[in-house]
Amino acid sequence: MLIALLEAIGLGAVFALVLVILVAIVFLIVALVNMGWVALLQWRDIFSLDRWTEVMVTIGRSKLRTTLTLISVAWGIFVLVFLLGLGRGLNNGARHQFARDATNSLMFFANKTSIPHQGYDVGRRITLDNRDYDAARKVPGVEHIAGQFFIRGGAMGGGEMMTKRGGKANSFQINAVHPDAIYVVTSHKIAQGRFLTDADVTQRRKAVVIGQVIANYLFPEHISPIGEWIEVANVPFQVVGVFSDSEGIENERQLYIPVSTAQLAFNGQDHLGMLEMTVGNASTAESKAIIDKITAQLAERHQFAPDDVQAVRVRNTVEQFERFSAMFFMISVFVVVIGLGTLAAGVVGVSNIMMIAVKERTKEIGVRKALGATPNSIVFMIIQESVFLTGLAGLLGLSGGVFLLDAVGKAKLTDFILDPSIDLRIGIAATLFLMMAGALAGYFPARAAARVNPIHALRDQ
């Protein structure tokens, strides 16, 4: 595609463009080195209070020009900082949307058929079972796998169940799962005890892992929940673990019991409502291959058409995450391009203003030269002015942008923007970049002006 594009533009034109850019870069480097040399020769001026007084007086003299320079640079930095921070916020927001679940997980939900197959009409409800779990487990590429039994039949999840201990009772979300479920819900962290184990499942133990919020609700502070018994839907369970959740306490209002125990206790035979699994670092294509394989197995066992996407619904976070990532990457690129464009506009603005400023001061430069100023001292004075101005403006823009980002972050306008912030180094680098641009923008006309013959400059009315 790139080659086709190149051919369309014409290789010659591309070559010329590259050449122009290279020449420009070499030119700028030479200018920077020259400028550095001038700065080296005039280093005393950097620490001269007298010189800075001179610079301040000159800057303060033309307030309109100073203000324009300040605005043009500060605005560039401000927009860059704000956009970069917003891009980061969008990215954080996107990641947050996925944070509860692993970004490499597949989920299969039993549903109703939508295509007639082998004499069956549409609308037949499919129910997964333990053998589907056993079969899917053997599919290559599947890393961790868990089945979940939906206690109240077809509803998503197990619904809310009354949970009691002593005089305290409340409804909490119940999940009847295999032990590997902990790998799919990556935001859970075991705080005390352990998660469910294979032994809990095979022995159909009445073990329960509860969220921190539930633990805090049911147990006074001095009692460790581990080993204590609670009642869930009137069935006694022994607490084996407590988990916290990095994505907020809403996710801690849940409890986990072994899938087998739930199937037995709530009359579920060997039914499963959902299979969930992680697939390691599989690509989107690989994850789709795994989905096809498992769907084919399920279709054969439950007699539905392999292309019936309604019979068993699949959620592929690999694909979703990739799509979201691509989208947010594009947004980030967009934001960066706009930011850089604004920065470039700032550079052009500063250059313009500096050029006009120097032009206006041809006479002054002539006078200074006649009175004994060296050209280097004149050039460096103008560089000092422009660097001071752009630096000040950069700091203003930087702090303005950071301040606004902070305000936006605190306002929590939408879930899609989370914790917008920028790497301060980027902001400082952008400011330094603009200062350099300002210095260069001052350097060229200053050098030209310092070469001007004062008699000509001064006679010119």
Binding site: G372, S377, N453, I455
Partner: protein
């Protein structure tokens, strides 16, 4: 006025060309010139005669192509920018037609500016500048900006600025060009006074009345110094006596 035995300023066979495209313009032709220490000299000539080029070379603001320019016992040729800036600062004081004071600085600060480039402290500069302002009769105007002053006052400030570096040579480029005749007279009085204090003064002018106040007139025509007998009749002048 007794002249010093050595020339403060000597040009020998100085040539200057300007390259315009492929052509070369011969602006100054074998200029021979000697101005003694403490002399008061006028340089006259029509526009295009090479007046301002000569002024540039005398003021160490431009290089020449061949010949020699001695300022005292210093050969002014192929100097580094730093050196020529230093010589300008220490040897030469400039007075311009349009004064060329920095508009955002007070009279005192304008006068003090050459000392800034000598590296003196602010306090010292202002102290000395006040003395020189006093000398040109503008002590009470120290804190005024040029915009608040008359043309004559501005030129006085400019002269004080030219003097503050204790130069050997004052180069005045049409110093009265922007002034009325009464003020012109006062400024020429001031320049005479400076000359009498022992400083060499060189005035570039096309005003015969100004030239008449000097001791000697050097006429330029087509890039050459005219010898006294070439001077057109009617341009006779008492100052010419010093040359012949």
């Amino acid at each position: 006025m007794a002249l010093a035995s050595w020339g403060v300023l000597r040009l020998a066979k100085v040539n200057k060309y300007y390259r315009v495209g492929t052509h070369s313009l011969h602006v100054l032709r074998d200029i021979e010139l000697e101005v003694a220490d403490g002399e008061f000299v006028a340089i006259m000539g029509a526009s295009g005669s090479g007046k301002s080029t000569l002024l540039n070379i005398l003021g160490i603001l431009d290089d020449y192509d061949s010949g020699e320019y001695w300022l005292g016992d210093t050969l002014i040729r192929d100097l580094t920018e730093r050196k020529s800036a230093n010589y300008r600062n220490r040897f030469i004081g400039f007075v311009f037609q349009s004064f060329n004071l920095l508009p955002f600085k007070t009279a005192l600060e304008n006068v003090a500016l050459p000392l800034y480039y000598q590296g003196l402290t602010r306090r010292k500069r202002n102290q000395i500048a006040a003395q020189y302002l006093d000398r040109v009769g503008l002590r009470d105007w120290a804190e005024h900006t040029p915009a608040e002053m008359s043309g004559g006052q501005k030129q006085r400030v400019a002269i004080a600025r030219a003097l503050i570096g204790k130069p050997r040579l004052i180069l005045a480029d049409e110093p009265t060009g922007a002034l009325d005749s009464e003020t012109s007279k006062q400024i020429m009085d001031l320049l005479s006074e400076i000359h009498q204090s022992g400083i060499t003064v060189l005035v570039v002018t096309h005003d015969p009345e100004v030239a008449a106040r000097t001791q000697r007139i050097i006429r330029l025509k087509d890039g050459k110094v005219m010898s006294p007998h070439e001077v057109l009749p009617g341009a006779s002048h008492p100052g010419m006596a010093a040359v012949t």
